[in-house]
Subunit: 911 residues, 2 copies
């Protein structure tokens, strides 16, 4: 059977509907839906996305079926409109517009006024009684068609961008200059006729072919050009970024032309059924009298407000449509209500008024800010327009994220970018926006903070000594380091805006200057603005937006939790972080890292003891250092467990990057040597011995616990004593979960459990508490541990996937070193996403699924979490839900996002 | 039903046989077998290994069944021997000896003369008519029993080793000193009586218990002590090293005592049915008149030769058994023949002659050198004693290895060790032995070579500039570096003795001294001896043995190939290596690494071009460097393919450790900067940018090929032009296999194949050869590639497992950095073997098996090899055979070993 490639829309003859987006594209499906609703849609037809795909597979030839299907559809359209395409008497003109499944604004092509030719011009003039209008339309067709169909679609556009369109524009300008005209409306009919003729000659000269004077040839050319624009440069790179598959194809909508530029009773406009910035339930939009759609978009005229209640500073003196065309406005307002009631959502619509008659040209679900999204969801829920589940699905995790961070105001950022103020790009280590004065030292940052001056701490790299300054700064910018660098890790914990690895910047910390690769120099005190979500650095100030605390946020999150199945915990390393996480709704700590105690304020003493421990070479030396560390570790764990009273706290055993903690200054080295009682030379020898070629795969995690059992024992004691004390002092029953990192074999867990069990006996005796409650589990972050998860689960009482390391080992990618090739991998389509941002479902995900299955086979109901960075990534949360995990754990600021993503995954999976 | 724990052996009453080693232990099973053969075995019984296991599981109590089974067995033994255990009139004495499944020489305990007591002494004296003999036996019993049963088995042996045995020895010495005796035989009956009494008092005083005077109590104690010795310290650590499971347990053999020390017609001896050092088919052994077994082993008397034909320099003046006891010798000789005919192997036997009557006390398959093993296998095959398959199984891969390398002579090495000349231990990077004068520079090594002076090149670490010296040296010793260090890799390719990472040595290359951790200093010109198989470094000369070229070797290898199923290829990087590999029987090159061109003689120019390539920052710069590299790469590949004419050659695409190739001297840096046309500062900046935190997981392998397609293109062109030229010039049809390293996704292969296909078109046109034959495959060395092997195989035409990297990523172990914890992991029983030596079957092996299955599902008959270090490891070869691989590839010197291991795996799997 022949494929049906063509679907009609229009009063009483519509084939499609809104659910057919895959086949008809978003625009086509919604045109059909509006027609079905009885709205005034100019008749037309949609050629399917499937046809586009077949067109490409067919060596860019139209499938044979079209030869019958288009004329048949066109005949019905002609009948509906009472005009005939290509007819000299009563000619119909059409537009040919692209429309993919997923909106790709401005990325593909459109041709208007198709069907105007020497044969149809006279009839058109008769019909409109407006010769100038017709020749202006013809001029527009020639300019658009020659560019889109005759040059771009043929692939002959010159690389320098100086194509036919530029030439014709130049001719037009030259003509106006000669005539002394200032604007297009001054062009008279004869001017336009002369120009049209000159344009056609130029086209023949430059492109070597005639401008087609046949209506059917014009339409075929326009349809082909729309299809071809799917594989245009802009469209392809947009798809890369948005992750849209190449094989979707675009539909082509051929629709009867209506004109908003036929005089003062004609107009065109765009509107949102509610305010897309705030969510206010007010009809909001802009319109222009005697104009075409492109005039609204072009921004050369200030558009009028739609109604009285949404007037603003810019347009308050301009008449609204409500006042000028009250009947048409009322009709439009009814349509607005009808559409919202039908779609149960806020819509973005386009309309044209041709000689007082209203036509709907487009409708789609409207984009909105995070705040608007929240307000609309809650309003519509209260209005009974949507269900609770729908309300939960209405806000994207990205929008929620917006609500949680101040961000650079989009308009201001756009302005900065077009003013060439984008001076560098780095890795987006922690999202949000930050604006402040450049400082180069931690001390200066602290000083600024004291004076309430926002500042950006700019460093080659940060290190533990910078932590106070990092906390004081508004944002952090480093020239080196990757997504797991010190700066990135620390900032992520705080939700502080941070860009790392902006390698093109040359930072001179002595001279206190930053130089860009274009040689522009910034000095201390100059302003910089950071977009931590994208990793963009701007010169000077960009305005920020603070998505203010919305009282509906808590209510919304309550809804979210109603549908969520996956638990959400936080990665938190201090009592303060834990408190914060709890306030964001964390149901426990999924990852407490003792290491963070060695950074920042008050870290001097524990850091010193840690350094002693690291540099010990005998068990005796090490025991002494470990004993000193004990009280700090206990205090930190105790505070955190207290903050999380009643909730589980998972404490990862020490996994410090040994060599990073070795002091670099001579004074510090000497002090440390003295304290251990060794010479400086011996100190240096030991420090050298700690160097590793690949520290990521070196002497770390449980490997330390195996070689230095006293380190494990100290931690077990700190955890268990902290728990025992809290029980005794505050009556708090703690639920510590001891997590052994970097395991690859069940015997490692056995080995560590034996040590812990002995300590538990001692602590139980000391506190006269008969049964200490605790669990021992393991990270699954080494491929072998995932492979042998069944064995691991025979000893581990819980699992937590460390997806950072698991991804590193599974891919053989060092996260710190992928900068040199990852962008090529994405650009060349080898990987579809950065696996450190979103779980690689095929590889890493396969291992996780395998480990979940095998682990639960060996231990029924095994509690399984994830505590890598991806724990807060929505797509990854969805994967975790499907894989049957018990909970995800992420940084405190991402807890709400994880809660939302998890609820959405649960709702979507039910469907 | 009650378990049968006790098995009899002796004339006409034997329960067991040689096949029951698991239950009866090696000694017990062979005693039973000899009894079955009608040989004169003193009657006795074996208590099973199962009983030992149950004994431990039972809280070290004898299982109840023994209470009946031992007396019943003992009654039959008594009947057979015509004596009664514990009987005052005609007492039977017994020995209680351990005997595990697998021989653990000297690791467990034995008690002799069990059953002597105040009650049985008189009867024993009457029976032997030799009071002194009886009291001497009693003295021996007391000394042995108090030590083994009363102290060691009770776990009360003092940690300083100064236990009861030392005390009794001291008493004996003191007694002899007081009496003026020089040796034990001077002790008279009364002396012995006094001593026995004093010993028993001392035992009571020190251990707090009486020496047991009851025969049954003595036997029970001795049996328990034998069982307990299975978990003695020595035995446990021996099992660790040999990989013997802890749950096997030992059997206990209770056997009637016979005495070789009852006068001049009594004797004891040990023998091999053939010469264990050479394999000569001559009965070979030693014996002593009027002695017990321990006297032969102790070495205080020079033992006599067994027969005339095997006399040597040391014993040629001593009478042989053949001459002194011709009848007994003949009887023993017959037994020798009977045993060989029965066991079809060379045996190691122990015998005792009690008053001219011959008794067999032990027989087991004898240990032998590599040479002996080869000769015996081929002799026995020719004699029709064994089948071809058996001959193949007779030689262990380790023995074959011995044949291929000169080694330190075992006796000389032992002597050096006991003379405290073992000065350091390092990593055994490449096996064999080397002896030579210390040199510290490559130049000196070359100079020594010219003068034919063997030398050991001693370096902190080696680098590419040392390669000439390394080739010239007899052996290499470094203080730093791991099993993949430069020195290790280079030497392994050559089969040159090498020890790396001997970290206790302090090497001063300026002062030209080596200092040990005990402060002993060696200077240039001093001799060192290396055991590269163990990683031991000795002071001064140790003798070496050259397992001379044996003409039977080729014949044996022919047999091997007859049964082998797995292909064997070599990892070779030069035409010379390839030639060598081919002479060792390689059936192709499984891994050709272009990188090796950049080391050693003649490497200056290609190395310079490589450096230019690495430091290029634009495609233009890189293209120039790559073009310069082209001719070197082509020449090297062409030579190798020519050497392997008719056989496949797998060429791995470049995977150079970028930062390692950056020159370190200022002059070299300047030269290179000038050649690229950049400043020195820019040079340093680029070099800095190449540094990676974890280079093992950095910008390497196919990642380079993706970011720099011109590098892939150059290699494809080099390979294809080399093949085309060989075809044109020499009519050689090459079979190049291009192997893409470090892949993790099928899209990487697609990307590279596209580049290669384009080059293939160009080369085909250039040489007017229509169809170029080549294959494109991939290494599987990243876990994700193994997981997604099905996808990989859709593009890859062959797989080769890179088990070095695969093991690194699967375990998260950096091979260079495991030194700090691997020994703990082995010692604490967390891992049973170094996974870089032998494939980790559970983890890495699981991935390999998964990849083989999925790969072959996607591409039928997919050719799959392995080219990691383990390709030459016998256990790993066995795994590869079972996993269904097509071939293994290893260094040229290990090709024969892999061939043997592969044949043995095939034969063993048939069974």
């Amino acid at each position: 059977m022949a494929k049906k490639y063509v679907y009609l829309f229009g009063k009483g003859m519509t084939d499609g509907n809104a659910s057919m987006k895959e086949l008809l594209g978003g625009k086509g499906a919604n045109l059909a839906e509006m027609a079905n609703l009885g709205l005034p849609v100019p008749a037309g037809f949609t050629i399917t996305t499937e046809c586009c795909v077949d067109y490409f597979n067919n060596g860019m030839k139209e499938p044979a079926e079209l030869a019958d299907q288009i004329p048949a559809a066109l005949a019905k359209v002609e009948k509906a409109m009472g005009m005939k395409y290509g007819d000299p008497e009563n000619p119909l003109l059409v537009s040919c517009r692209s429309g993919a499944r997923s909106s790709m604004p401005g990325m593909m092509e459109t041709v208007l006024n198709v069907g105007l030719s020497t044969a149809t011009i006279p009839g058109m003039i008769r019909r409109t009684n407006n010769e100038r209008f017709v020749y202006d339309a013809y001029r527009r067709l020639i300019m658009m068609y020659s560019d889109v169909v005759m040059e771009k679609a043929e692939g002959i556009e010159p690389a320098d961008g100086k194509g036919i369109r530029k030439m014709l524009d130049a001719m037009l300008d030259e003509y106006k200059r000669r005539k002394g005209y200032k604007s297009d409306p001054e062009l008279q009919v004869n001017d336009l006729k002369l120009l049209c003729r000159a344009f056609k000659e130029k086209i023949k000269e430059v492109l070597g072919t005639e401008f087609p004077d046949d209506a059917r040839a014009q339409m075929n050319g326009a349809i082909g050009a729309v299809f071809k624009s799917w594989n245009g440069k802009k469209a392809v790179s947009y798809r890369r970024i948005e992750g849209i598959p190449d094989d979707w194809g675009t539909a082509c909508n051929v629709q009867s032309m209506v004109f908003g530029n036929m005089g003062d009773t004609s107009a065109t406009g765009v509107a949102f059924t509610r305010n897309p910035a705030t969510g206010d339930n007010k009809f909001y939009g802009e319109w222009l009298v005697n104009a075409q759609g492109e005039d609204v978009v072009a921004g050369t005229r200030t558009p009028n407000p739609l109604n009285e209640e949404t007037k603003n500073e810019q347009n308050k003196y301009l008449p609204s449509m409500q006042s000028m065309l009250p009947d048409t406005y009322r009709q439009l307002y009814d349509i607005r209500n009808k559409l919202e009631a039908h779609y149960h959502d806020m819509l973005d619509i386009e309309f044209t008024i041709q000689e007082t008659k209203l036509y709907m040209l487009q409708c789609r679900v409207g984009k909105r800010t995070g705040t608007a999204s929240l307000n609309m969801a809650m309003d519509m829920l209260e209005e009974g327009m949507i269900s609770e589940k729908d309300a939960v699905l209405r806000m994207s995790p990205q929008q929620l994220d917006e609500l949680l961070h101040p961000i650079l105001a989009p308009d201001s950022e756009k302005a900065a970018a077009s003013a060439d103020r984008l001076i560098a790009k780095g890795l987006p280590a922690d999202p949000g926006g930050a604006v402040g004065k450049i400082v180069f030292t931690s001390e200066d940052a602290v000083r600024c903070r004291a004076q309430k001056i926002p500042c950006i701490l700019v460093r080659e790299e940060t290190n533990p000594e910078d932590v106070e300054g990092m906390r004081a700064a508004t944002g952090i910018l480093t020239a080196r380091g990757g997504m797991t660098s010190h700066a990135a890790l620390v900032c992520r914990g705080w939700g502080k805006c941070c860009i790392v690895g902006a390698g093109t910047l040359v930072i001179d910390e002595i001279a206190r200057t930053v130089k860009t690769d274009k040689g522009v120099k910034f000095v201390e005190g100059d302003f910089l603005s950071l977009n931590g979500t994208k990793g963009y650095v701007y010169a000077d100030k960009v305005e920020t937006m603070d998505a203010s605390e919305n009282p509906r946020f808590q209510k919304f999150m309550g809804l979210v939790d109603k549908f969520r199945k996956l638990g959400v915990r936080a990665n938190a390393d201090t009592p303060e972080d834990a408190q914060q996480a709890r306030s964001f709704g964390a149901e426990g700590i999924g990852l407490f890292r003792t290491e963070h105690m060695f950074y920042g304020k008050g870290s001097e003493k524990p850091l010193f003891a840690l350094r002693q421990m690291i540099l010990s070479s005998t068990q005796e030396e090490r025991k002494q250092a470990v004993d000193k560390l004990f009280k700090y570790v206990k205090a930190s764990i105790k505070g955190t467990m207290k903050a999380m009273a009643g909730l589980p706290v998972t404490i990862r055993f020490l996994d410090p990057p040994l060599h990073e903690f070795i002091p670099h200054t001579r004074d510090q080295q000497l002090e440390l040597s003295r304290s251990i009682g060794i010479s400086h030379a011996e100190f240096l020898r030991r420090a050298e011995a700690l160097k590793e070629n690949n520290p990521m795969m070196g002497h770390r995690g449980v490997r330390l616990g195996v070689t230095y059992p006293e380190v494990t024992a100290m931690q077990a004691r700190a955890i268990l004593e902290a728990a025992a004390e809290l029980r005794k002092e505050d009556g708090i029953q703690c639920m510590p979960e001891m997590m052994i990192p970097v395991t690859c074999d069940v015997n490692e867990i056995r080995n560590q459990k034996k040590i812990i069990a002995e300590i538990a006996k001692e602590v139980a005796a000391k506190f006269k508490q008969s049964e200490l409650e605790y669990k021992v589990g393991t990270m699954i972050e080494i491929p072998r541990a995932a492979i042998l998860a069944g064995q691991m689960a025979s000893e581990a009482e819980f699992f937590s996937f460390g997806t950072n390391d698991l991804t590193q080992m599974t891919f053989g990618f060092s996260r710190d070193d992928i900068g040199s090739f990852l962008s090529d991998y994405l650009r060349k389509d080898i990987l579809s996403a950065d696996p450190f941002q979103t779980i690689d479902v095929n590889g890493v995900g396969w291992l996780i699924q395998h480990a979940v299955t095998e682990g639960r086979k060996a231990r029924k109901g095994l509690k399984i979490g994830i505590c890598g960075e991806q724990g807060g990534d929505p797509k990854s949360v969805e994967f975790c839900h499907k894989a049957g995990l018990s909970y995800v754990s992420c940084s405190p600021f991402r807890v709400p996002i994880a809660r939302l993503a998890s609820a959405q995954a649960a709702i979507n999976c039910e469907k």
